[in-house]
Symmetry: C3
Subunit: 351 residues, 3 copies
């Protein structure tokens, strides 16, 4: 697949500085791109790499300096335009139908334009929408509903009654619809609370590898439209995760957590059960949230507190050993002052 | 499946207030239950939801107020009785035998009343007890022994020589019997310590999704009777986890950890190697345990320390920036007092 | 399989004290080893266990005391020699060829001396080197290259274009080559940054169970020679992990992290994106690394700081509540001194 720079420039709505007829055959990183590849730079500090590298053309911002002998495509948002350029070169693999090494229950309803790979199991009552790909070893449980153009990765398990919207990607090894974790201690042992709810994943959601989203005890665990979830994330029963939320690697949510739209979670952060987090919140990396967070706040640390406060406290903590010394010095100093006062008092008494 | 309220009331040993002949067809959450469903309330703050909702009957405590027009079943422990009510409506799926799409070694010994789903692999020398279900894509390794009425989820791996007791549930994607993590540095590289022990899971244990329990280096990694483990939990080699322990999501244990009965671990907590934790300990969420904890204690924080102490320190830490200011103020104050004393001393000298 | 003690002693280059003709049939832990088994002791505190146990022979250091009636093999490094002894008794399972229940694309290139178990899928263009074992349910994606003598565990996913060196072990459930986590917010939703790089795993690497190593956005995510990775570890896109690095359970690396040779990570530690960590660094358990760490350093805590400093601060923090009390007491004391000075000043004024 080749495009001329002019074709690419048009597609991106860019202003081209350079040779419109030049052929581009793919994309690459600024450091390693060849003369036939296009790359991008969203900061002037990458200028030397452009000058020294072989890269065939570079997508840059409107204020970026000209580079002698290099083809530039100027756009308002270089990173976003680069995404669009990459998409021009990405081949969607063709849909290949149902592998003879898949096991499909006869009561399942499958669109005709899909890919079902070897080793896939599709259970009774499942529905697979148009344009879906289900990769090797994935399991589609009883009564699972998959919308259109979903991508279900290798060895994924979508357990019974899970509902998945359109254009959802679930990466390899992830389990959706596992039992929520609930037990009641009585009569000298743990009684399992039956987990009879389900999981609903709305459209345009992406879930990384080896993550877990548990079904609700009763009702629904919901991941709303456009939310993106990374690897090894744990989402407990009855969570309600808002739209366009960003959840990075190894984040964990206990049960019945509510998260507002566009909130972002740094890696390895965690949220205790029944906590409500508002919209547009920033939760820092490795931060432990034990209580509600209002919309728009930024929180950080163990336990989570407003980021500015947490950082002040951390700086202060670094001075704590010195502070202890200072306090001891003051103690001594004060005792000296006390003796000097006593001395003065005695002498004053004499007067 | 339908039961009259009188049938349900009898089964639960409840005191019925309402229409005994009323038919109930299932269970639901208080907010969404229909007229044909039963729910529960273990706190009076749910009273308005009962009054406003359609719910057909509610399991409540003995002190709960009467609700006009609503059927109540009074019991000592509403949540526990609700579990029993849910169980009345849960259909165990029928056992379906061995799928033709499973691969079973001829030397494996299988009870006759079991379910082995498509894509399952059962290795040489494995033993599967009566009433077991092994779901799609699960792997039962060489010489693995499964007790009675176990449930092995989708894509679970029970690696060689693992022993599993009766009524054990292992949820999707979990790996039991992976190699312990042990290396010796010598001759300029890491030498792997062979991991030739195994894992023993006692009866009534439940393990969540995508968790890992490693085999012992030598001897046994043991999970004792009745312990419940959540998703994405890591249990290292040679751990000895007591009975009825609760281990929530993303908890991690290094090697050779010992945990007493009924101890509970909050989400994302962790335990360093060779640490011993007593019975009935509470380990808080995201808490890092680096040293032994005595029976009955509650610990919290990084590093783990007695919870009351940790909370006092966290409150104090919040005052640390102010404290630094106060200390500086005292410093200034003290210097002023010092000058005033010097001044007095001079004047006293003159006297 | 049996060896005489003399045979074992020769193989280990040990000095034998005892009966060279004695037959040993296996290895065991000091506490449970039988008369036919060999064990090891690298510390004199294990002496009573040797005296009281049945163990047939013990590998010990050169300074270890003699034990009446027990066979000892003296070596410079008992633990390392024990590893070699265990290896004498470990049978490599024979290679068994390609299972008829595997699915192998006709364009894949497979060495003749390999094991491909039931349920394995090998995709177009994949290459499997000599002596490799691919266990049940594993997935080898398009154009994946596996070197010689690799061991790919149950339900592992090696996604497209992944390159794996010689003698690499990947344990059950791990996913290598999942998409990196990258999105750009524009036009009111998250745009996925296409992840078109790949993963390269160099020789002698071991990866535990249910871990995730993401492909690069562009270019390569690289794990260098001899590095050992435990269970449930997350390694983000474009990481460059050095040689002989130790990464224990549940550690997480964000994107574009660089780690030097021989650096070690304690359990549940994490590293923020674009951070560079030098060679021979020790990162403590549950430690959160937000900024670069120089070679040879030891860091600990939240946030990571030099271990000695972090420990001093933690000790100081334990004294913080007392310190607050002390400060209040000083405040009162100072106010008393102030009045006494005022009093003196008044009297001095009178003079």
């Amino acid at each position: 697949m080749h495009y001329t720079l002019e074709q690419i420039s048009k597609r991106l709505g860019a202003t081209l500085e350079g040779a419109g007829e030049k052929l581009i055959s793919g994309v690459g990183a600024l450091d390693s791109a060849t003369e036939e590849q296009i790359s991008f730079a969203d900061d002037q500090r990458f200028l030397p790499r452009i000058e020294q590298g072989a890269v065939g053309a570079v997508i840059v911002g409107e204020e970026f300096p000209a580079v002698a002998g290099k083809n530039l495509l100027r756009v308002p948002q270089p990173r976003l335009s680069f995404i669009h350029a990459v998409e021009m070169f990405l081949l969607s693999p063709p849909l290949t139908g149902i592998s003879s090494a898949a096991t499909v229950d006869e009561s399942a309803v499958l669109a005709s334009d899909i890919t079902i790979d070897a080793g896939v199991v599709i259970s009774a009552g499942a529905v697979i929408g148009s344009g879906c790909t289900v990769q090797s070893g994935a399991y589609i449980g009883p009564n699972v509903i998959l919308g259109k153009q979903c991508h279900i990765g290798v060895n994924v398990a979508l357990l019974d009654d899970t509902v998945v919207g359109d254009r959802v990607t679930v990466h390899a090894g992830t389990v959706i619809g596992g039992d929520g974790f609930g037990f009641v201690w009585a009569e000298d042992h743990h009684h399992k609370v039956p987990q009879i709810g389900r999981v609903v994943i709305e459209g345009d959601v992406e879930v990384g590898c080896n993550s877990c989203i548990d079904r609700a005890t009763l009702g629904v665990t919901r991941i709303r439209r456009g939310t993106k979830i990374d690897n090894l994330v744990h989402i407990g029963h009855n969570n309600d995760i808002g739209e366009d939320v960003i959840i990075t690697g190894q984040v964990g949510f206990s049960g019945s957590v509510t998260v507002g739209n566009r909130t972002m979670f740094g890696g390895q952060s965690g949220v205790a059960d029944h906590v409500t987090i508002g919209e547009d919140v920033m939760v820092g990396g490795a931060t432990a949230v034990f209580s509600n967070v209002a919309a728009g706040e930024s929180v950080f640390g163990f336990p989570a507190r407003p980021t500015a406060k947490a950082k002040r406290e951390m700086v202060a903590m670094g001075r704590l050993p010195d502070l202890l010394k200072q306090l001891r010095r003051q103690e001594r100093e004060m005792s000296q002052l006390r003796s000097r006062i006593e001395d003065l008092e005695k002498r004053a008494g004499k007067v």
